[in-house]
Amino acid sequence: MKKLFDRVFDGADEMVALAEKTLADTLAELGADAPVEMPNTAYFLAIHSAYLGKNVTTLGQLDECFKTVKEWNGRTPNTSTVFKTGFATFMAAEVIEACKYAKDPNPYKDEYHGHLSDAEVRELGVPLVTDDIPGFVVIYGSAPTDQEAVDLIKGYQTRGIFVFLIGDVIEQARRLNMNMGFPVRVVAVGPDIWCVAHVISFVYRAAMIFGAVKPGDRWEFDDYTFYRIHACVNVFAPVEDIVVACGAGAIAMGFPVITNDENDMWRVPKTILIQQDTADFIETSLEARDIKIKVTNIDIPVAFSSAFEGEIVRRKETQVDCDGARFDCFELVRMKDAHEIEDHKIELIGKDFDEFEAGAEFAIGFLAEVSGKNMQPDFEPVFERNFHNFLNCIEGVMHTGQRDILRLRVSKAAYDAGFRAKHVGEVLYAKIKSEYEAVVDKCQVTIITDPDLCHELSEVAKATYNERDERLGSMTDESVDVFYSCILCQSFSPAHVCVVTPERLGLCGAVSWLDAKATNQLDQNGPCQVVTKKRVVDENVGIWEDVNEIVFKSSHGNLEQVTLYSIMQDPMTSCGCFECICGIEPFSSGVVIVNREHMGMTPLGMSFPEMASMTGGGVQTPGFMGHGKQFISSRKFMRAEGGPGRIVWMPKALKDLVGGKLDRTAKDLYDIDGFTSMIADETITEDPEELMEFLAEKGHPVLTFEPLI
């Protein structure tokens, strides 16, 4: 098998020799002063301009530059020489095409497109830069059959990808009467491999226009094409050496090459890929170049809008009723490897809605499998929790609950409009792909109504839920490398910033560390930012220099220091949407916690709203702090002051909610059984003196603690 590098060098020699001859002939015919220019461009010969920083305007200057082309056309078998040789091949191709235009400003007439004008570069460049066109593909050669050629082109077209055709594939498309042209995003560039110069010229002009890359700054061009231009190359067998040489240039620019030629072809992961069947070209190409296809519309027979979110489907208007309380229902998101997933596959296992009687009750399961380079298993529950919002936006569909207690109802009206099980899948697919495009590359959805399979998979789902809950429950602040800041509330509380840790969720109760992490990954400029914790000042009280820097910056200079685990020293601020407030109870040196729902008085002589007025608005009030309900049972809850053992009073409803976990934490920390029963509530007393008596009677641990003040 001939070495890949040798194929590149031989191919480049071929192109350079042809260019040299063409240039010599043209010089002999027109003379050195004859002008060389491409029509409607301000960027001269863009490839020469990009690589050499020279504005070629005459044949003589082009000839001058040709020395460099020959210099770059190397033979040393290392990657940098191969790449440079690839670039020399492109310059040689541009020489051949430029000579053609020097002789005739319109050499291709209407047969081929040839050179792209600056206006076309801008027209195509804007949607490419904004990702409205996800990328472009260059197709060269002759497909095994005409039909395969057209199927491939149409496949790209339907995905919104711009297609450049070079060589025989153009004739193949024409034979099947394919509609081509700039407006339909399929351009027949030219008949020969050197016509690729027009595509490369387009790319470099885009880099100069949109990336402000300076002519001659070759590294910047490489950078720009690698990071910003989403392109790939499809070449049909047989691939000649001269094409391999162009491929080297394309690869140097960051564009992978996909081919069905297995002879003398070397596989290079993510770079040169062989697919025997041309039907697999598209998926392979998109994956190799990380091109993501956007979902713009949801294909269902009823409306989809947040206006339907609160819609209730009553029993008598129900066509389909799936109740997780009585059947084995589940909803599950699972991360998979890219090759295990066929994007946009929607599968139904079991009977469809129209195979059940009206008003039928049965089990249903939703399984969404996703893959993505930046996907993490931690995002699974984040997506899953949003199924509720996604499905509720469907007109005539009601979704309540979550996980294995979900309930789904489809109205008769929606059913009559043609709404079936697969449409649930369409909605989930479209929403997961569009809402989480930053991390999801591929997604497939399975809807299950087969009762046996539902039973089997719901057991798997339940095991997964338990696993996740345990993982979240076992995570500690020490077990992670970073925390997250959250400024979601700053629109009405401008100075407040939450620092969210695994053991201390946001004070609103709605943002856990995992949520904050997902929010950050999905929108890196959004409200949640990474907070490192490298420079510790006092781990017990919870002071880090890194944390303070972020707090200072995110509060726009209003706060200089917060502690994560103290309510006395620089406690974390509150916006106003805290679930609970704790405040010092001076007689016992303990704290009273009251939740937002509690309407009555507390032993402090203050109700929730009165305490809220002490702590909201991003101010630090030592002795008072807003927090989430789940923080109460955390080992980090006011650890600096001795931990949750300080809690002396909570409303009964709150005790019932957090009691189990709080008892376990107290057992761990103080070796006390039934700690929650030592805490007073409104049914015991709201009077501070009676509270002291109660605490003494119960032997509450706070009485042995140091005074707070």
Binding site: R122, G125, V126, P127, V129, T130, D131, D132, I209, F210, G211, A212, I487, Q490, S491, P494, N525, G526, P527, K553, H556, G557
Partner: protein
Amino acid sequence: MAFKRNPQVFPARIAETTIGTGDNALTLGGESVFPLYSFDAPIGNPPVVGVEFSDKGPRRDVAGIAAFYEGADSLTDIARRACEMPGASFVCLNLESADPNGDDMPVEDAVKLAAEVAEAVTKPLVIQGTGNADKDGNLLGKVAEALQGKNVLLLSATEDNYKGIAVGAVLAYQQKIGAESAVDINLAKQLNVIIAQMGVTNDNVVMNVGQAAAGYGFEYVASAMERIKGAALSQNDDSLQIPIITPVSEEAWSIKESIVSEADFPEWGPAEQRGVDMEITTAVACLASGSNAVILRHPDSVKTVSDFIGSLM
């Protein structure tokens, strides 16, 4: 004890954004002091006033406006006349007809209007879209293309359409754009950051951080602007070091105080004077909070606010 001057000059600076070309170019921003604090250090480019007119023509039901534009019937005549308004530093064409919830004029026709106006004006041109994200995304890109070389300011790119406008207007055709957000420092900052990520530098952008007429939630606008300028200068936050433009006229002329007739509310006095008063009050409050440019409608307001700026510099 003698008064000791203690100038508050920050080691930070708002970017300068220039609109228009040649002798008619106008630069916004560039200050290192709080709004209008010219006593702390010279403000290189004092705030400016622009005059707004709709593509449907000026509001001729307001006597003072009708009188000013008298005899100017075609849109190009109106544009030329607007350039002559005393106190106006730039003009602003409002492409009201293109609004999909109104006349829904096709993009090509609206672009043609913009091109005619761009040919006629003798002052820097600001072009205001419809406020509809989809329509503006398309319209402003096409206007940018048609007005190549005029260095116009296009209002506005929002979170929903910034990509196409930032790339299509600034990178492809070297125009300037407004970044519009809704009265929140973090939203303003976020939009600036993502626009910058498209490769657009601060000197190609102005911010519109939200607007309201005085008395209609204006304190939120004032607070947002104050905090933005504070963060830009005292914390040297370069993603907020961008001049602010505030369209005042649309809000000021659509509130009850400006539209109910004198017949219905005789104790309130003449309707036109009330509209002018609302426009002036709002504009001056904007300038005090941080606007580098305000867009007004009535000749009396334009002159008054311009004189106000002049007397402070």
